[in-house]
Amino acid sequence: MKLSRTTLLTAVLIIAALAIGTVVNSRLPKPDDVFSAPFVRAGTFGLVVKLRTGEVTLTSLKLTHKVSRFGTTYDNPNVWVVVNLQFTPRQRSMTLTRPSIVAADGRRFGGDQPIASPCGPAQPDFTLSCNLILETTTDALPGARLEIMADPMSGPRTPDDMAVFALDYTEQSTAAELATAQTIELGSNTEIGAR
């Protein structure tokens, strides 16, 4: 049987389309990934990020080797990241407890921390200022991002709101900040007031 030029061309096109489709399909997110992906809300320092449970404003972020609370100093050969934020829940009381630092290479620093620092319970429509403390390593900071889940029960594989802040650290700026870092005194959460 002699195949016509059109038939051959069609066969080649079909095989090429299948090959491309296979490659594309392998790179597309799977149903489980889509189902469990968080709702990402990109944030900027100093600006309000609206989450399902309330509004978050990242006011400062400091690096240090030493933090102090209740008269005890916690010395860390790695890095304490002290995140100051303001949180205003909506509809009901809420606590933010699960920040994570995600390194550029995908390493995740979060979960239960050596120093518990829950932001809350915060009253709806009242703004609470608080410090969240995270332990990470120096090499994780360049290109890292900070993730804050909207609910203490939610994690990075929960389809819930997640505020994401790019940290803009480089190796040089990380080293420079740590070289001059002082002990950070961790105060209590502060009620700013009703809005």
Binding site: V34, F35, F39, R52, F70, R90, Q91, R92, S93, G120, P121, A122, Q123, P124, D125, F126, L128, P159, D160, G187, S188, E191, I192, G193, A194, R195
Partner: protein, 208 residues
Amino acid sequence: MTNPSWWRRNRLRLALLLPLLALAVIASGFRYTNIYRQWGKDHDLDRVATSQPYVFEEEFGTDRKFTFHRTVEVSLVGVRQITMAEDAWPAPGGVLYEARVHLKADPEQVDLASCTIQLVGADGTSYGTIGGKASREEFPSLDTNPHCTPVDAEGPTVVPFQNKVQQSKNPRPLQWEAWASIAVPATAQIRYVRISWSRPNALLLPVS
């Protein structure tokens, strides 16, 4: 593609593409409708007290073999503005309220010592006993729980993880008042006092 007759021959199919596209967009919104919105009120089962005293009843337990029936007569005493409660006052822009609820129950009724009392605003916002308060202390031990039962007369309670009932120092009286101090924004309009013992059930007492 350049032949105009192709567009004419396929105009019905092309027209059908629009509703199909709309359906695709709606279908892809399943995460929003099925996951995101479902979390709005966390599936609380609020019931409104149609008359007072209201007989609140529910089943609760630690597991299937260790369950109880709860029966409490509930009526609202009142909600009044106060300036300070237990060394705490409202944060700037807020006001502090004291909510009082009259309760009547069999002294042998199990587990009434731990309750939740909240104020519910006109927009459905629930204000709890923690938060919205300021104190002189840097690390204040703010009143974290409502006062659900008389001190030293809490009545029988279930011991967590042990599936046994423990009696209080003194028997609980037949009736008493539970109360809570709650900070709300000065602009909030309070509609209900919400009381609950075991989630998801709760009772809403209208505030006149």
